[in-house]
């Protein structure tokens, strides 16, 4: 009986993975040189000053670099429209979903989120000063 139910649960699981595929790749700016097809979750640190307006035609423009690892030179420009989180600013680590088109990462509207200091963690911007 138990074995049967476990098998049923497993079947549901395999059904899902075969239909819906296996998740979205999480990449850093330097990975885009190799992997640039399809939907991507891009993780990076904001460098330079963001320009434009996320609620106007053209959208918000900012540049991301790798948040960790040794490929510190890689940069990718991002264009974005939609809600901008409160904590978004230069130096913050952000996650954004979208696709790479002609060297620019075009984000899906409203997918920008910052890795926010949360209930357990000290505010990192303050730590470094």
């Amino acid at each position: 009986m138990i074995a049967l139910s476990v098998a049923a649960a497993l079947a549901v699981f395999i059904l899902y993975t075969s239909v819906a595929g296996a998740g979205t790749p999480q990449l850093q700016p330097s990975d885009l040189a190799v992997h640039s097809q399809g939907d991507i979750m891009l993780v990076g640190t904001v460098v330079g000053s963001p320009a434009g307006d996320a609620h106007a035609a053209g959208g918000l423009h900012f540049v991301l670099k790798d948040a960790k690892g040794k490929h510190t030179a890689a940069r990718v420009p991002v264009s974005y429209t939609g809600t901008v989180p409160d904590l978004f600013r230069t130096g913050r680590e952000v996650v954004v979903e979208g696709t790479l088109r002609n060297g620019t990462f075009v984000a899906k509207p409203g997918t920008l989120s910052t890795k926010c200091p949360s209930k357990y963690a000290p505010a990192p911007a303050k730590k470094s000063t």
């Binding site: 009986m1 138990i2 139910s5 476990v6 649960a9 549901v12 699981f13 899902y16 819906a20 296996a22 998740g23 979205t24 790749p25 999480q26 990449l27 992997h35 979750m41 993780v43 307006d53 996320a54 609620h55 960790k68 809600t83 901008v84 409160d86 904590l87 996650v95 989120s113 910052t114 890795k115 926010c116 200091p117 949360s118 209930k119 357990y120 963690a121 000290p122 505010a123 990192p124 911007a125 303050k126 730590k127």
Partner: protein
């Protein structure tokens, strides 16, 4: 001051380590006096840990910035309430809170059960073992009492933590997380002392219920916090850190149900051990997830250095619990077998399998980035569609089972009797489904299923109450209300459970309504312009600014009307915190009594020229989600309330003579 804190912690470390070593030795060699001494040391450790906690609280209260912790997490302008809650806004303080709760629980649990000595004798070193890890971390790895030259002012508190919920949400979660240590320690203690009857379950029933209630309420409070404070209009995002609290809660839910089968029929002994170990290990794993930065979460931080310590601790806990259960397998054999697939036991079993399946698929989703990195060298993550799929495929059958289970007889139910009892709930669900389709709510299949199943559950719970009350009324006469109160009072566990079921049903209705049938609109507005959302007209009138204690508050004044008549005025806006150099969104919500929903407004962007970019969500039935929390606590309290009759029965059952026979 800091020296006193450090000394108190070191003393706790000594006492706890003594309780672990001496307690294990005493239990092994059956030394009664030594065991008693270990027990007293564990109770004393609560006292010394409280002293350490008071030192930290005093420092926070007095703005003693020579404590690095105080300087990092508070500032002079921070209001007193938040200053005191800064205790758990950082890593060191959180660990200390964990230890305070753990030693407090341990002292109470050990003291309450001091008479059942053969069981407690191994529980003391088990609890001391868990405490050792935390007190070690606090003394040597991550001390809240590190000092430095005091700066003129502190760094302040992260603005999203400056919310009344901060006072309640983390402590509630800790009370829940840590509470799971008690049934775990008693279970392992029972295995170690070879007392594998259901006594450990009986002794820890209320502990498990309490921990589970705290964990559930803690999560709901956190959801409500995210809902009103973070300002994206949702309350659960399947973020790894949120899942970290949901997984042990699901495992504990399964455990709460399956122990009833062991109590009633002596079955599932191994399974219960596995579940209690799973729930405990998941609670430690949750803390690890939050702290280590292994998983990319919007909550977690890679900077934290204590992740690997937690990982080591988890490995020890898992190996220990799996190994011990394996060694004691011969003692856990059951004499009774499942008699029929259509019985109360069987529905409990289905419920268990679905809960554990849901729990494990969530765990798989959380671990997915790490697994794909290890196997394919590429990090991939799953998101909302993955979790929603499994919530639907396992959660909806669970909902239906909640209605079926109570109607099915123990041991073996006849299909004919079932047909009779199912008639009314089945009619209720068909009528509800038909009505919803006729009204045009068939657009969302999961939503429709949730409501038809929900009607079945509601009817079946109502039926249970009606039948019971009628029986009691005919037995003792008096008023109907009196009969109902007496019914619940005499079977607190059972009817408390039904009340909790009703609250879960309310939660499901609220979640389905606010997700499957919500409306979202966003638009840029100049002053005087309006927008329409779900029958409401929202007019942006003007901006206003005022100075608060530690922030500059900007608010858009938005008039809300419906059918030409004024409904309310909303004030969405932003707060600017100069010390913390952060801006936070302040949402404004109108609770609509007509559909028990919310009109949720977010000032997404306010331009310098005064143009407002307004985001509006209409979320029907969402207030049922929060209302369910109150009903949940009430039901849990009914089920937990001390019962003199039950106590007497237990005392007879486990009297020294009876146990030996």
């Amino acid at each position: 001051m800091a020296a006193l804190g450090r000394a108190a912690l070191l003393l706790s470390f000594g006492l706890i380590a003594y309780a672990l070593v001496a307690g294990s030795f005493a239990a092994w060699k059956r030394r009664r006096r030594l065991a008693l001494s270990a027990q007293n040391a564990l109770i004393a450790a609560f006292g010394t840990t409280v002293v350490a906690a008071l030192v930290l609280w005093t420092a926070l209260w007095r703005h003693d910035f020579s404590f690095v912790y105080v300087a990092d997490h508070t500032s002079r302008t921070l209001p007193l309430g938040y200053r005191l809650s800064a205790f758990w806004s950082g890593q060191e303080g959180s660990l200390l809170l964990w230890l305070v709760v753990l030693t407090g629980y341990s002292a109470l649990a050990v003291w309450l059960n001091r008479r059942t000595r053969d069981l407690v004798v191994w529980v003391v070193p088990m609890l001391a073992g868990i405490s050792t890890f935390f007190v070690f971390m606090l003394c040597f790895i991550s001390s809240p009492f590190t000092t430095a030259a005091a700066p003129a002012d502190g760094a302040g508190m992260n603005v999203s933590l400056q919310n009344p919920y901060m006072l309640a949400h983390p402590p509630l979660l800790y009370l829940g997380y840590v509470g799971l240590s008690i049934p775990f320690a008693f279970a392992m203690g029972a295995l170690l002392s070879r007392r594998t009857d259901e006594r450990w379950i009986v002794v820890t029933r209320r502990w498990t219920l309490a921990a589970w209630t705290f964990l559930g309420v803690g999560q709901l409070v956190g959801s409500h916090w995210a809902y009103v404070e973070i300002g994206w209009g949702g309350y659960y995002a399947w973020d790894p850190v949120e899942n970290a609290a949901l997984m042990p809660w699901l495992a504990a839910t399964a455990f709460l149900h399956s122990v009833m089968i062991q109590e009633k029929r002596g079955m599932l002994k191994v399974w219960n051990m596995v579940l209690v170990a799973l729930a405990f290990n998941l609670s430690i794993f949750g803390t690890f997830l939050t702290r280590s930065g292994v998983i990319n979460s919007i909550h977690s931080f890679a900077q934290s250095s204590i992740g690997s310590w937690f990982l080591g601790f988890i490995v020890i806990c898992v190996v220990f619990s799996v190994g011990l259960i394996y060694l004691r397998l011969p003692l856990l054999r059951t004499k009774t077998k499942l008699e029929s697939l259509v019985s109360r036991e069987a529905t409990f079993l289905y419920n268990n399998l679905l809960l554990v399946a849901l729990c494990l698929t969530i765990l798989w989703g959380v671990m997915f980035p790490v697994l794909t990195q290890a196997v394919r060298g590429e990090t991939r993550s799953v998101s909302k569609p993955y979790y929603n799929f499994f919530l639907h495929s396992f959660g909806l059958p669970l909902l239906l089972l909640m209605g079926i289970g109570p109607l099915v007889a123990w041991r073996r139910a006849s299909l004919r009797a079932l047909g009779k009892t199912f008639l009314i709930p089945a009619i209720a669900s068909v009528v509800t489904g038909g009505t919803l389709i006729a009204l045009g709510y068939g657009s969302s299949i999961p939503g429709l299923l949730a409501y038809t199943f929900g009607a079945f559950v509601a009817a079946s719970i109502a039926l249970e109450f009606v039948r019971g009350t009628r029986a009691r009324h005919s037995l003792s006469g008096g008023s109907w209300l009196g009969a109902l109160v007496e019914l619940v009072g005499r079977n607190r566990r059972r009817y408390g459970g039904y009340i909790v079921h009703a609250s879960i049903l309310m939660l499901a209705i609220g979640i389905a309504g606010s997700s499957a049938y919500q409306t979202v609109r966003e638009r840029g507005l100049h002053q005087g312009q309006s927008m329409e959302v779900a029958g409401y007209t929202l007019t942006y009138e003007r901006l206003q600014t005022r100075q608060e204690a530690n922030a500059v508050a900007t608010r858009a004044v938005v008039d809300v009307s419906r059918g030409g008549s004024h409904v309310t005025t909303l004030y969405p806006g932003k707060n600017d915190y100069p010390v913390e150099q952060q801006v936070s969104n302040e949402v404004s919500i109108y609770h609509d009594p007509r559909n028990l929903g919310d009109l949720f407004t977010i000032a997404d962007q306010i331009d310098k020229n005064g143009t407002l970019f307004l985001k509006v969500l209409n979320k029907p039935l969402v207030n049922l989600v929060w209302g369910a929390g109150f009903l949940f606590v009430f039901g849990a309290l009914v089920a937990m309330w001390p019962d003199a009759v039950e106590q007497r029965k237990l005392a007879e059952r486990y009297a020294p003579g009876a146990a030996a026979a």
